[in-house]
């Protein structure tokens, strides 16, 4: 009965599907293409890498980019392009494995404390306060230091710290959604708490979390390669972008391509995830 905005007129006519709208946004499409190709490289590096990434050739050490070696070769004469490509599987795996457990734990915990509030929520609040006062990287490094270096331990460390960010976001969104009467009407309908939380609140509350997840995957690659660079993540001779950059570090003035090419790969995949996240925000928003 109120006209809040001049545009809120009458019921909307049928609109294009959300996917159609999203596909017209160049950013989203570019993001999808980048991540699609990255996934392909990660799944089947052998199809794209021109050489065996671990084939050592002392006759061709630190060669600059050429037709034979588009990204040049490293100090052991390994083909840089092949090593960057073979690193896709480790780095894309990082993007997923370093975030997905945090996502699931965070969503469930956040939804529960947001719904029930009370004591659990207060304890949760303290945990969040405690964790977010430390810089993320410092905390992760501390956990890795305790568990020991390596990929699995790195995933554990990132999950242990990262879930609170998801949970915090989810909790706030669930509380906001509970202001809507559909949550109250679930109670009135006699639905179980589990149904109300997971079937009604969660699908409506999860959009910002999914968008954050995309950004977080980009950050996870960055974090994973930082740890690799520091020697706490993937271990050489495993081809991993952070490891590759670290290997090239000593030759940065003479063989710049060794560090630059994996760096570009990091930027590109990060950009891809961010662009998708942006598009998803529009794609997942409910109408009405």
């Amino acid at each position: 009965m109120t006209e809040t905005s001049p545009l809120s007129a009458a019921a909307a006519p049928p609109q294009k599907s959300r996917l159609q709208i999203a596909l017209r946004k160049p950013g989203f499409v570019i993001g999808m293409v980048i991540i699609g190709l990255s996934t392909l490289l990660a799944v089947a590096p052998g199809l794209f890498a021109p050489y065996d990434p671990n084939f050592i050739d002392y006759t061709a050490v630190r060669q600059p980019p050429s037709w034979a070696h588009p990204f040049g070769t490293d100090m052991l004469g390994r083909d840089s392009l092949s090593r960057v490509i073979s690193a896709y599987s480790v780095n894309m795996q990082m993007a997923v494995l370093a975030t997905v457990f945090a996502l699931v734990i965070g969503v469930v915990v956040g939804a529960l404390v947001g719904y029930y509030r009370g004591l659990a929520d207060m304890i949760f609040g303290r945990i969040v306060d405690a964790i977010i006062t430390f810089p993320f990287l410092v905390l992760v490094i501390a956990v890795v230091a305790v568990l020991g270096p390596g990929l699995v331990n790195m995933y554990i460390a990132i999950t242990l710290v990262g879930w609170v960010y998801y949970a915090r976001l989810m909790r706030a969104e669930v509380i906001a959604q509970m202001g809507n009467d559909y949550a109250a009407s679930g109670v009135v309908m006699g639905y179980s708490d589990r149904r109300i939380i997971f079937r009604h609140l969660l699908p409506n509350a999860i959009t910002p979390v999914v968008v954050y997840w995309m950004t977080d995957m980009a950050l996870a690659i960055l974090l994973g390669s930082s740890l690799g660079y520091l020697g706490l993540g993937a271990q050489p001779p495993q081809a991993e972008w952070g490891v590759l950059i670290a290997e090239g570090r000593n030759f940065i003035t003479t063989a710049w391509w060794l560090s630059l090419m994996p760096g570009i790969a990091i930027v590109l995949t990060g950009l891809g995830f961010s662009l998708i996240g942006d598009g998803l925000a529009d794609l997942l928003r409910p109408r009405g």
């Binding site: 009965m1 001049p6 007129a9 006519p13």
Partner: protein, 330 residues
């Protein structure tokens, strides 16, 4: 009913919004005039264009859409005025109040500051005189202990009191026209009655014209001399309140009047207009009300009836209106 020279003449006002690919004709060919001291009610349902019409008069819709047509204020077409010149008219000659006073008052400034700011912009009063005038205004709109409340922030006032503050600010520069956009919709009935009384007595006192946008026919009946009924962006019926409400002739006005449960046996079926208003970007080529209308003929689907005088100061946009009641019209 004022017969003198109109102070405001709106002719063929059209406002169109665009949202993506959608073209939304929010206001179409709206024409009316307002005499000195006249209170005109603009009624309609959500999306009928009544609020947009009001905003278009003051040039507030230009930023969001295209506005065409003429708005003659004291003989001058203000629809074409540049923003700078329009700003001098807003607040000083034409004031506006909104439905939700909390969002139109600045929460970070005291009420006194907001009042004196308006006075500073629109009058030549000195500092002390502005303060005195501010107290006078608050007192005038019925705020107890006005002097001590200048220091208060909007959130320290209740809903009804905030609307009074809004009115005090709107009227600070003694405007000649007040545009009121659902000023009492957010208020309770007992407070609504107080606020409407206040607006009416101030209008009378200051010889100020008022255009009151509302969806409540009761409010129109109790406060306005003339009424214009809007549907899907157009005025469909207009005339003196007594005549229009007593014997509505447009089937839509009639439907609205009859949907209100007054003087019907309790717990019986109410008259109701079938269907819902059309979406603005899917308006039919003919009469927009045709799909819901009981008097519809083939002509209504093909052509759009124009608003035309039917005698007795009334105008109507309908091919098959209800018959004029006896004693009605000239």
């Amino acid at each position: 009913m004022t017969e003198s020279q109109p102070i405001l003449e709106v002719s063929n006002l059209c406002t169109t919004f665009r949202r993506g690919d959608r073209v939304l004709p929010a206001v179409r060919d709206v024409s009316f005039s307002l005499g000195k001291g006249e209170v005109l009610g603009l009624v309609g349902e959500s999306g009928s264009g009544k609020s947009v019409t009001l905003r278009s008069i003051l040039g507030l819709s230009r930023r969001y859409g295209e506005v065409s047509g003429a708005v003659r204020w004291m003989g001058q077409d203000i629809a074409a005025l540049p923003e700078r010149r329009l700003r001098r008219i807003r607040g000083r000659e034409i004031a506006m109040i909104f439905q939700e006073p909390m969002t139109s008052l600045n929460p970070l400034l005291t009420v006194g500051m907001q009042l004196t700011e308006t006075l500073k912009a629109h009058t030549d009063l000195g500092r002390k005189a502005r303060r005195d005038r501010a107290i006078e205004m608050l007192d005038h709109v019925g705020i107890p202990a006005a002097a001590s409340r200048l220091q208060d922030y909007p959130h320290q006032f209740s809903g009804g009191m905030r609307q009074r503050v809004m009115i005090a600010i709107a009227l600070a520069a003694s405007p000649k026209l007040l545009l009121a956009d659902e000023p009492t919709t957010a208020l309770d009935v007992t407070i609504q009655a107080q606020i409407l009384d206040l607006i009416l007595s101030l209008a009378d006192e200051l010889e100020m014209g008022v255009i009151l946008v509302t969806h409540d026919l009761g409010v129109v009946a109790q406060t306005c001399q003339n009424v214009a009924v809007m549907y899907a962006g157009r005025i469909v019926e207009t005339g003196p309140v007594r005549q229009v409400l007593r014997s509505p002739r447009h089937p839509y006005t009639e439907g609205l009047m009859r949907s209100v449960p007054q003087d019907v046996p309790p717990r019986t079926q109410l008259y109701s207009v079938p269907g819902t208003p059309p979406s603005l970007d899917a308006l039919p080529p003919g009469c927009a009300f045709a799909a819901r209308c009981a008097n519809r003929t083939a002509a209504c689907l093909d052509a759009r009836p124009a608003l035309a005088p039917v005698g007795g100061q009334r105008s109507l946009a309908c091919f098959n209106p209800a018959r004029a009641a006896q004693g009605d019209a000239a």
